[in-house]
């Protein structure tokens, strides 16, 4: 019995496997642990789409607004606006003024202007469209991440996927209500606007159509508490949420929750000027296109703070404050795929796959021992170490263990013994042919190696393709399986050989092939 380098490698593999899988197996406080996938621990997985078209529409609208502003300043009269999907046409009363406007627009970055008589058409360059879309997506990701960070769940995942999709993964969501709250928080536009009520025409609001309103530069908005009530407000807001610095939950004198917000210096200035000018008029607090309140301005309001009152619960107010603090979502998002798993189902899945793992493992171990004798025991040791290594590497990489990943591990046990079976069959063949023991073993390994490498390389290739093309859960499956294949090459080819070398002198001495290799006794042997 002597030590050899293969045995040293094997000892190293065992130490590696045990060391890195211990935190997960023993649920230690310290050390990297296997992350369970949402299908095993329960949670919410969503693939969100971003309506990037809306970003382009918004960009066009803002260009139109600045043209309107410019025209008003220069006393150029606009006859009409006509908005299309990704362009706007503005017709002017006086054809001669068009040149001035055109010059102004050409200075706006990314715009394309076409003039046809008194009509100007504005669209965006390709680069500008791409840039707007890109910005919309990154802004959406940023906002969603901010909101979820404040929601109070451990490690939310918000990541871009593909061209314009956002992956959101929330582990640890316990109840359906909590899930719905999270979804509402994510999707809330949280666009706060302070708008002036058009006092001159407000009385006629109920008889007015949308286009009537827009011809006065007004919009009709619903009341948040009672959709029957309509408000007529100026289309261009005095302020919007981008000038907000803080929002938190407070309470009014009746102890009902409300949201107090604070504006930055610029916002406070504009707000102070406006309220100073508009004493006696009403100011509408508009959130996501609905009027929450429209109090009369009694005096100039300095300091830049205000309140949004409405009929909401404390939890709703809290979520709303989070949404306001983390900025508004500029473009709408929608759900492309949603998978939510309750924690109890996750626990059931873990139990079921562990049961399959343990029973499959037990069957294989007993079978190998029965069929191959001590060689089977050696193979079993290799398989056990194999499992530790897989678990260790998954923990070390911080990879996620999903249900298909568990299936991959279970399946792997069946395949891991294969290399050992190939080797043992080869050794038996050599022994039967009467080759001396040590040569039978070394040749068995040599010959088995070629077949094992050939087939495992093709398998890893298949796994790689599976990984590249698979979605979340399938990726996990591909990872555990390739890890398994690599680990089994290491343990079967290197490690078990080391064990045989260690015992070689004894095997050669007793020549008890029934004990060592499970071979049937035969005449003359």
């Amino acid at each position: 019995m002597k030590l050899n380098f293969r045995l040293v490698i094997f000892a190293f593999l065992i130490a590696f496997g045990l060391f890195f899988s211990a935190p997960s197996l023993l649920q230690l406080e310290s050390g990297k642990k296997v992350t369970l996938g949402l299908d095993l621990q329960g949670g919410l997985h969503m693939l969100l789409g971003v309506k990037t078209d809306e970003a382009i529409k918004a960009r066009i609208k803002s260009i139109a607004a600045s043209v309107k502003n410019f025209s008003e300043k220069k006393d150029i009269i606009i006859d009409s606006f006509s908005f299309n999907e990704d362009s706007v046409s503005i017709t002017f009363l006086d054809k001669d003024e068009v040149k001035n406007v055109k010059n102004f627009i050409s200075e706006i970055k990314g715009s394309v202007v076409a003039v046809d008589g008194a009509k100007i058409s504005i669209s965006l360059t390709k680069e500008e469209i791409l840039r707007s879309q890109e910005q919309a997506i990154s802004q959406a990701i940023e906002t969603i991440r901010n909101r979820l960070d404040q929601f109070g769940l451990a490690e939310p995942v918000v990541a871009r996927q593909g061209e314009n999709q956002i992956l959101v993964e929330l582990a640890g969501i316990k109840t359906a209500d909590e899930e719905q709250r999270a979804r509402e928080l994510i999707s809330r536009a949280a666009k706060l606007e302070l708008m002036a009520v058009d006092e001159d025409r407000a009385a006629r609001v109920n008889s007015m159509s949308e286009s009537d309103a827009s011809s006065y530069g007004d919009v009709i908005l619903e009341d948040a508490n009672n959709p029957q009530i309509k408000h007529l407000v100026r289309e261009i807001p005095i302020l919007d949420g981008s000038m907000l610095t803080d929002a938190h939950v407070g309470f009014d004198q009746n102890n009902r929750p409300l949201i107090s917000f604070t504006l930055n210096a610029e916002g406070a200035g504009i707000f102070g000027d406006f309220t100073g000018r508009s004493v006696g008029k009403r100011l509408a607090v508009v959130l996501d296109g609905k009027v929450y309140s429209a109090p009369v301005i009694n005096e100039r309001i300095g300091g830049g703070s205000g309140q949004i009152s409405g009929h909401y619960t404390v939890v709703e107010a809290k979520d709303l404050a989070i949404a306001l603090r983390s900025g508004s979502l500029l473009v709408p998002i929608y759900v492309m795929e949603k998978r939510s798993v309750g924690p109890s189902l996750g626990a059931d899945s873990i139990r079921a796959s562990l049961l399959a793992l343990v029973s499959g493992f037990a069957l294989v171990i007993v079978f190998m021992m029965f069929y191959y004798g001590l060689a089977g025991v050696i193979a079993n040791i290799a398989v056990v170490v194999n499992l530790f290594i897989i678990l260790g590497v998954i923990s070390l990489l911080g990879a996620t263990l999903t249900l298909p990943g568990m299936a991959g591990i279970v399946l792997h046990i069946g395949l891991a013994v294969d290399a050992n079976i190939i080797i043992n069959e080869r050794i038996r063949e050599g022994l039967r042919a009467g080759i001396p023991t040590s040569r039978a073993i070394s040749e068995g390994y040599k010959k088995a190696m070629r077949a094992i490498l050939d087939s495992n390389i093709t398998q890893i290739l298949a796994c790689t393709i599976l990984y590249v093309y698979g979605t979340g859960a399938i990726k996990g499956f591909a990872v555990t399986l390739s890890l398994g294949i690599l680990a089994s090459i290491l343990t079967a080819i290197v490690s078990t050989y080391g064990i045989y070398q260690f015992f070689m002198s004894r095997i050669e001495k007793d020549k008890n092939y029934t004990l060592w290799f499970g071979m049937s006794k035969r005449k003359g042997a």
């Binding site: 969100l48 759900v335 939510s340 079978f367 038996r428 050939d454 298949a462």
Partner: protein, 323 residues
């Protein structure tokens, strides 16, 4: 313990025709099944929603069906028991896009009054995602076949590669014929199973091919049929044992993995059996039919060795010349 007589060479190819007919018949029945009956595709492919609900007592399936009629979203919904009599799965081809109120919330509201229940899983896939998956799944499959074709050609010969590919397609078509026949859900896990079977099938086949190659290289035997019979006989013990161990674990997965794993464990179970059968009876047999010539292969090997020797001679001449 030994299952197979070590020295005996079984005449597998002698009965080639029987297996050929058996495979042929199974293959075409499977194609017919897949074409006519098709698969019951899961929402991963078709888009739609699956809601898994667990009741504290037995699930009132009739009452659930009645309640679901209230909503258009569940017009084409199916309700079936899942795993136990307490649990049901509601499947509908509809999905919703809104975040704040989705089809899962609707289900919860509708089911109110049918008993005490807990919604354990909501899977919702929009129609676009399914399309993408179909394209990705198919291209992954074709790419894997190409990769296998390339590696086997590189390590063996193109006729071996061709035979291996035919054997793989044979295995997969028959396996999924069974999936279609038993109406097991075809979902994303089934794609994983498909690729696993593919890997498993090529694995088994390569082990046999390795033996064939070894015999060609090391013996003077000229009869290819004999070489293959010997290779298959020699590897038979290994093929059977490995298949048994894999079969054991897949069986435990099938029995204990629950309904949620069925889309994976069922095709795996069938695939392991078919894969084993084909690597013993079909794959090697096919190489014979592709017109593989042992003499030509040996000639090629000899040429290779010659070219190698020539290269080395030139290199050593060159090196000594420089030095």
């Amino acid at each position: 313990m030994e299952l197979f007589k070590e020295d005996k060479i079984y005449n597998f190819l002698g009965k080639g025709k029987i297996f050929f007919i058996a495979s042929f018949v199974l293959f075409f029945i499977s194609i017919a099944l897949i074409a006519i009956k098709g698969f019951s595709f899961g929402i991963d492919f078709t888009g739609g929603t699956v809601v898994q609900v667990k009741y504290t007592g037995d699930a009132p399936i009739d009452k659930i069906r009645e309640s679901l009629k209230k909503s258009e979203l569940f017009e084409h919904a199916s309700v079936s028991e899942f795993g136990s009599s307490q649990e049901v799965v509601i499947k509908t081809p509809s999905s919703t896009v809104g975040l704040s109120h989705d089809i899962g919330d609707t289900t919860k509201e509708i089911l109110k009054g049918t008993g005490e229940f807990e919604i354990r899983r909501v899977d919702m896939v929009g129609p676009k995602v399914g399309d993408e998956l179909r394209v990705k799944g198919l291209s992954a499959f074709l790419l894997t076949l190409l990769a296998i074709m390339a590696t086997v050609t590189f390590r063996y010969e193109w006729r071996f590669a061709l035979a291996a590919i035919i054997a793989i397609v044979h295995d997969i078509v028959i396996t999924f014929g069974f999936v279609s026949y038993f109406g097991v859900d075809f979902n994303i896990e089934s794609v994983a199973a498909l690729l696993m079977i593919l890997g498993y099938s090529i694995h088994d086949t390569i082990i046999v091919y390795d033996r064939v190659r070894e015999h060609i290289e090391e013996s003077k035997e000229a009869d290819f049929v004999h070489i293959i019979n010997e290779a298959v006989s020699r590897t038979q013990s290994r093929t059977t044992l490995t298949s048994l161990t894999v079969f054991f674990v897949v069986l435990t997965l099938f029995l204990f993995g629950g309904d949620i794993m069925l889309g994976f464990s069922f095709p795996m179970l069938v695939g392991v059996v078919i894969g084993t059968y084909s690597s013993i009876f079909v794959a090697a047999q096919l190489v014979v039919w592709t017109g593989f010539s042992v003499a030509a292969y040996r000639q090629k090997m000899a040429d290779k060795v010659k070219i190698q020797a020539e290269k080395e001679r030139m290199r050593s001449q060159f090196e000594s010349g420089v030095m």
